[in-house]
């Protein structure tokens, strides 16, 4: 009777279940056709790394002796099955009583024949073993046949594994949705990668463009508690190298790799059995790293190294993560621009109404002054009050002007233009006369044209010139550079759009921008000055973004501001 039992099939995919049935049937056929008394198939367990009897055929098997049979052999490093699984070679004996490898288990056994199960990478993943109560029961022909059956079983199991991977990839792909929050998807992928690749740890690092650090965003394994905190410097360690180079890394023992630093050890370094990391690519460069790590097993049968197939799977998952991160970025930008558009319309109306009210207030103020003066000379107290009222009405008007500028900044009249020409004009007219600002330039020749609004760009450059002047009240320097943006420039700026771009840089000798202010300086109403509304740099950003460009401040705090603008070149 067949006792081809298997662990509970609950939650086991259909593909795995049917492959197990096929392997059980292969074993049954082997035992019958080769005239064996009984037989079994042992597989290397992914968790423990040990050989485990998964299928049995013939008389005399119990749950207990199934477990005992191999554990004895593995403890002593002997046994025919252990030899076959470790060496990947078949073994045949016609008289077990004189065989050094044979460990007596069933009393009636005289002959034994075993063949390895070899996977697509030539690695033994288990063994098929048959035995007989007759001496010299198996010949060379039987050995060939059992090897063929072993290969068939290995192939069946490999197919099931591929189907499990296919299903995992399909599930991941189906969960890729249009959302501004990529984090749940990242968690999902970390889980899938860890379970499908048999890795104890899977971690996803996302590059923070502002700091140049790879920050742990999702993790399945020992690093899970460090999500959001742990990070690598770009280029540092093996994981940092993957992000910086855009190349994958796959190694059995990272300690032997000169790039490895052991910055974030999932396990003690000596416990790492295999390491694999692939870059997460976005539209314009590396967005992060997807990494899996296997713990080392103290088993001679277990193959720790990740395979090429494993790397293909991880790369596919990394690509999906890349898409999800780009989607999140685009969604965020969309929401942001919709919000800005709604806000802009409401603001334009408010500004108009406020302007009219302020105009009326000015009229009454004028009238009040007139009425008071009719009664006789205006007292100095009354004159002070009137002056205060006027001063404040005027400052409200100044705010309104700045505010309307901000609203108008993004309404463009586009025409092909030479950025250097606009910039030269801004520099010749926009430098405040009494600022003492020394301006130097480095303008690249033959730059592609930009589809732009010359007056808006002039406004944008003039704001940056004034910003430099304000940052150096006693006079100082401003260095302006134009060039064709490099691929690295585009990646650093997370420039979305593709195609060539013009890079415009403004460097001054002021105090620079503190790290915590680098993002906020472009927010409306953010100002470190007392005058005005703080819309200057937000207007600059509004103009740049209306041109589908990006602007960042990248200077070292304390060593002067360094603004970098990227504007897309016009299609030639």
């Amino acid at each position: 009777m067949s006792t081809g039992s298997s662990p509970s099939s609950l939650g086991v995919p259909a593909a795995v279940q049917s492959s197990r049935q096929t392997v059980a049937a292969l074993l049954r056929d082997a035992v019958r056709s080769l005239g064996a008394t009984r037989g079994f198939v042992a597989l290397v367990d992914r968790e423990s790394g040990e050989l485990v009897i998964e299928f049995t055929e013939g008389e005399g098997w119990t749950e207990e002796n199934r477990k005992r049979r191999l554990s004895i052999g593995q403890q002593e490093g002997r046994g025919i099955t252990a030899y076959v699984a470790a060496s990947g070679r078949p073994y045949r004996t016609g008289d077990v009583t004189t065989d050094p490898y044979y460990l007596p288990f069933f009393d009636d056994v005289r002959s034994e024949l075993a063949a390895p199960l070899i996977d697509a990478y030539g690695r033994a993943i288990g063994a098929i073993n048959i035995e007989s109560d007759r001496p010299d029961a198996f010949d060379e022909c039987d050995e060939h046949l059992l090897r063929a059956i072993g290969s068939q079983a290995a192939l069946t199991l490999a197919m099931a594994d591929y189907q499990v991977r296919e299903r995992a990839l399909l599930e991941v792909a189906n969960e890729l949705t249009l959302t501004a929050n990529a984090m749940p998807f990242l968690e999902r992928v970390a889980h899938t990668a860890a379970s499908t690749l048999g890795a104890e740890d899977c971690s996803i690092f996302v590059l923070d463009q502002a700091t140049g650090r790879l920050v742990l965003k999702a993790s399945r394994g020992p690093l899970a508690s460090l999500v959001g905190d742990a990070s690598y410097q770009l280029g540092s360690g093996l994981t940092g190298w993957v992000a910086a180079s855009g190349q994958p890394a796959r190694t059995g023992d990272p300690r032997l790799d000169p790039r490895w630093r052991g910055v974030l050890p999932e396990f003690p370094p000596e416990d790492i059995g295999a390491y694999m990391a692939v870059p997460i690519n976005g539209i314009s460069g590396v967005l992060g790293v997807l990494r899996v790590v296997r713990r080392r097993r103290t088993s001679m049968y277990y193959h720790h190294e990740f395979t090429e197939g494993d790397q293909d799977l991880l790369t596919t998952l990394a690509n999906q993560i890349g898409v999800s991160l780009e989607i999140a970025k685009l969604m965020e930008r969309l929401v942001q621009s919709e919000r800005m558009a709604a806000w802009g319309e409401m603001s334009a109306r408010s500004a108009h109404m406020l302007g009219n009210k302020v105009f009326a207030i000015k009229g009454y103020l004028n009238e009040l002054e007139y009425v008071l003066s009719k009664e006789g000379p205006i007292t100095s107290d009354a004159a002070d009050v009137l002056a205060g009222l006027k001063r404040n009405v005027f400052s409200v008007e100044e705010i309104l002007l700045e505010f309307r500028d901000f609203l108008k900044a993004t309404q463009l009249q586009l025409a092909p233009l030479d950025v250097n020409e606009v910039l030269s004009r801004s520099l010749s007219e926009g430098v405040p006369k009494d600022s003492g600002l020394r301006v130097t330039t480095e303008l690249a020749d033959a730059l592609p044209l930009v589809d732009g609004d010359a007056s808006k760009l002039d406004r944008c450059f003039t704001e940056l010139i004034e910003n430099a002047a304000n940052a150096q009240p006693g006079g100082g320097m401003l260095h302006v550079i134009t060039s064709l943006a490099t691929a690295e420039d585009l990646a650093r700026a997370q420039y979305v759009g593709g195609g060539p771009a013009i890079k415009i840089e403004f460097l001054d000798g002021g105090t620079g921008v503190a790290a915590q202010d680098k993002q906020r300086i472009f927010d409306p109403f953010f100002t470190t000055r007392s005058r005005g509304m703080g819309l200057g740099l937000s207007i600059v950003k509004g103009i740049v973004e209306a041109h589908r460009g990006v602007i960042r401040e990248v200077g070292e705090p304390g060593q002067g501001a360094h603004f970098v603008i990227l504007l897309p070149a016009a299609a030639s």
Binding site: H352, G355, N356, K357, V358, F359, A360, K362, G363, Y364, N366, E367, Y370, K390, F394, S395, E397, E398, L400, L401, R404, D405, K408
Partner: protein
Amino acid sequence: MSRVLVVDDEEEVREAVRRRLEREGYQVATADSEANAIAVLKGAQPSFDVVVTDMVMESPDSGARVLMAAVSQDLFTEVIVLTAYGNVANAVECLKRGAFDYVEKNIPGVDVYDLLAIKVAQAIERRRAAVGTVRRLESLGFYGRQR
């Protein structure tokens, strides 16, 4: 006494401008929309010397339409357009069509009412000069001569 029509859809603005111009001794009427202004202009007898009109009311070029109505009623009526900041393009369009001048409502540091009073006075002066010239030409027989 010179007659001025003040057109604005904001009551507070109309009132403030009316008071200021009455102080100058003008007879001031008001209208609260482009449509009303055009109606008032058509029924005015004699016609207004100066019209002060907001640029944007029912439509972005309401001021231009008020201008056309005023000038078609009396060629010598002078029109001053009030604009919000940043709406200079529309104001320039009005100047091309014969407006006397424009005044931005919100210029920081400037008492726009005093400025407006000056402009109205200048506009009245120009009208007077133009009308005077025509009268002299008429008295010399340049106009109305039958062929």
